[in-house]
């Protein structure tokens, strides 16, 4: 059984097509994340599922039931909006309990469910206080609590961590995993943060200008991105793209660029050689050393080093092309100036520049 099925959804606002033929399914108990940049259509998609927008075309099926045209409250979904509004006159406890009281739940069930949510979200100490005494993070967590205590078929979360401090955001990421684990409820989660998308989900849909560029597991979108957009959006810093030509070296096909070449035997049986290709390489697949060596045969210039604690991001110029490498801090002592780099074996991607699709 599927918790949610979205078929060919299209929605325009005036001349702007916010959603363009969007389809996806979420299995029972699945965790699906819609990730994309600002204005990709993420919130529109979520609100259309919740029933706050009517689609121009397409179907929404929740737990086997077509819900198009149905009022939001009859769709058996629970939604957490990006701009939260707590009831100022109600305590943290009563804010969380609100929908349970509306559904005439028993006192014991209310206290049990609110207690569970509060423990999970780490807000037990503030349950008896009023919202005006809450910090931003506490408000958000109470709002999350209010959304998760309802027994809906589907939980829709719109950027629940976006307005929080970085530290709280990182801590709450795991709370959502725990929550999902304990609830077993299907979740559709919207974020612009690819780290949240990768770390939380069973399945990730990368949305761009109202269309999915790719839907796949975190491993798929990271290791086998379908398009240049996905390759650049997932992973930080993004995948590097370096212009290259297909030539040969020692009788084997090779990708040859300015100051580098790598063997690509996998292209031996290529039917059609694209006019323009680029090497795609993740920053963490690049090695940098002060001296040349078997793993670092290509001359580069280190332009800039960004030290981020456990790892450093090194900005390189490879044959005049700006390339970023991510290295564990302390592994090699680098300074700006001349250095050497190499690509980890089998870590490269090959992009057909014309089609924007990967050959590998």
């Amino acid at each position: 059984m599927t918790a949610l099925e979205v078929r060919d959804l299209t929605k325009s606002f005036g001349k702007i097509r916010a959603l363009d033929d969007v389809s996806f399914t979420v299995p029972t108990g699945g965790f699906f994340t819609i990730v994309g940049p600002t204005n990709a259509g993420k919130s529109t998609l979520l609100k259309t599922i919740a029933g706050l927008h009517e689609p121009d075309r397409g179907e929404i099926i929740i737990s086997g039931r077509r819900v198009n045209g149905l009022e939001p409250r009859l769709r058996r979904v629970s939604m957490l909006f990006q701009n939260i509004a707590l009831f100022p006159q109600l305590s943290g406890f009563e804010n969380i309990a609100f929908s349970l009281r509306a559904a005439k739940a028993s006192e014991s069930e209310i206290s049990q469910r609110v207690g569970w949510a509060a423990r999970l979200l780490g807000i037990e100490p503030i349950l008896n206080r009023l919202p005006r005494t809450f910090s931003g993070g506490e408000q958000q967590r109470v709002a999350i609590g209010r959304a998760i205590v309802q027994s809906a078929d589907l939980l829709l979360l719109d950027e629940p961590l976006t307005n929080l401090d970085a530290r709280i955001r990182i801590g709450l990421r795991i709370a959502f995993k725990q929550l999902h684990h304990e609830l077993g409820q299907a979740i559709v989660y919207v974020t612009h943060d690819q780290v949240e998308a990768m770390s939380l989900s069973d399945s990730v849909g990368v949305l761009n200008s109202g269309r999915f560029e790719q839907i796949g597991s975190p491993d798929e979108v990271y290791h086998r991105p379908a398009t240049r957009f996905v390759a650049r959006f997932i992973g930080t810093p993004p995948m590097n793209f370096i212009p290259a030509e297909l030539g040969s070296e020692k009788g084997e096909p090779a990708l040859i660029g300015k100051n580098f070449s790598i063997g690509v035997p996998e292209l031996r049986r290529l039917e059609r050689v694209p006019d323009r290709i680029e090497l795609g390489i993740r920053p963490e697949s690049i090695e940098v050393a002060p001296e040349p060596g078997p793993a670092t045969p290509f001359p580069v210039e280190v332009k800039w080093i960004e030290r981020l604690g456990a790892r450093s991001v090194v900005e390189l110029a490879l044959g005049g092309v700006a390339v970023k490498a991510a290295l564990p801090t302390g592994q090699v002592e680098l300074e700006t100036g001349a250095a050497w780099c190499g690509f980890r074996p089998q870590s490269h991607h090959i992009l057909d520049s014309q089609t924007g699709r990967f050959l590998r």
């Binding site: 970085a166 975190p218 997932i234």
Partner: protein
């Protein structure tokens, strides 16, 4: 050398809360200095007092050795850049740049000269005629900086300028801002809750909590030798693990008893027996094929797939411990053995949270 900016024992209360509770710091000329902390820690209040929007209840603020407390904001020769850069969208880039000069009644020929000079340094020459509303974020940041820098401020204050932007944009703006700052040797006081911004751009960072500074140090030192458990827990993603530890020993050798019967040999060291908190960063832990001395057995409960690495949440007693691991090294539900690798030996006083300096405790690795 005279400090460019000096704060001496600054206090500020709002009704019954002490927003800033006696902070002191000094910025060297040309330094990039960040105030880092969670919301409500007093960092923006501090910035507002330097800018002159708020008056401290007590303490002294000096620029180049002279008190500026009696000066209104516009007389302070301090440049301010706000959230999202707030470039005038209807004005051209040239008009945006000239704006501050017009307010200061700088003559027209001089305005034009200054606009062109700065436009050249910040690579804005080719877009001087474009309207603010048509700029991308990189151009916007440079215009926002140029608009302020053109008045030749002694000090530049930036208050969370990047907090609403997408991650990739933020990453490229960080490098650019740092380069401009270095190129101009501009003294910067930067306020943020984002550790990545503070770590990547700052010469020094002050980590703040509840109106007080817990540590002032270089990014490297903040990461490697945090003065307090709060600093250790605030810096690093995935966050550091903080384990309750009982240190015991005989003679000069010490061991730490951790949850789930994990015993970590600490080696010889001058360390009082008793209760501590032991900080281990996720990349200082690894999965071990062997069980036994120095290892801990746990079960993988959650897995965060970050592509290049997996963060395993391993249940150890009643705790979840984060471990950075290579993709594919363990599955959810699997039993694993943990051991330390190149652990930096962070121990904190269980009561005060202060770091207890320990010499050469790397023996466990």
């Amino acid at each position: 050398m005279t400090a460019r900016l000096e704060l001496i024992d600054i206090h500020k209360r709002f009704e019954d809360t002490a927003a800033v509770n006696g902070i002191s710091l000094a910025l060297a000329p040309g330094e990039f200095f960040s105030l880092l902390g969670p919301s409500g820690c007093g960092k923006s209040t501090t910035l507002a007092m330097v800018a002159g929007f708020l008056e401290p209840d007590g303490g002294e603020i000096r620029v180049e050795g002279r008190s500026i407390l009696h000066l209104p904001p516009q007389a302070r020769r301090i440049g301010l850049v706000f959230q999202d850069y707030a470039v005038f969208s209807k004005l051209t880039v040239a008009e945006n740049l000239a704006f501050g000069l017009e307010v200061r009644r700088v003559r027209r020929a001089e305005r034009r000269r200054l606009v062109h000079e700065l436009a050249q340094r910040l690579a804005l020459t080719s877009i001087l005629g474009r309207r603010g509303g048509s700029l991308n974020m990189s151009e916007m940041q440079r215009v926002a900086l140029a608009r302020v820098l053109i008045t030749n401020p002694e000090l530049l204050l930036l208050d969370e300028p990047m907090s609403n932007l997408d991650a990739e944009v933020r990453a490229s703006l960080r490098g650019e801002l740092k380069r401009i700052q270095q190129d101009l040797r501009q003294t910067v006081l930067y306020v943020t809750h984002d550790q990545v911004e503070a770590m990547s751009m700052s010469d020094r960072i002050a980590v703040m909590r509840e109106g007080a500074i817990l540590q002032v140090a270089s990014p490297d030192e903040i990461f490697r030798a945090p003065a307090h458990r709060f600093v250790a827990e605030f810096i690093g993603d995935p966050p550091i693990n903080m384990l309750p530890a009982t240190v015991e020993g005989d003679g000069s050798s010490r061991i730490a008893r951790l949850p789930a019967n994990w015993i970590l040999p600490l080696g010889p060291g001058e360390l009082a027996e008793g209760a501590y908190l032991l900080g281990i960063r996720p990349h200082e832990l690894m999965l071990s094929a062997a069980s036994g001395t120095g290892t801990a057995a746990g079960i993988v409960r959650f897995l965060e797939n970050l592509g290049a690495e997996h963060v395993l949440h391993v249940e150890l007693g009643d705790m979840l411990i984060r471990v950075s691991a290579r993709p594919g090294s363990a599955r959810i539900g699997e039993g694993v053995n943990l051991r330390t690798q190149s652990w930096q030996g962070l121990l904190f006083d269980a009561r005060t949270g202060n770091r207890v300096p320990v010499r050469a405790l790397g023996a466990a690795a």
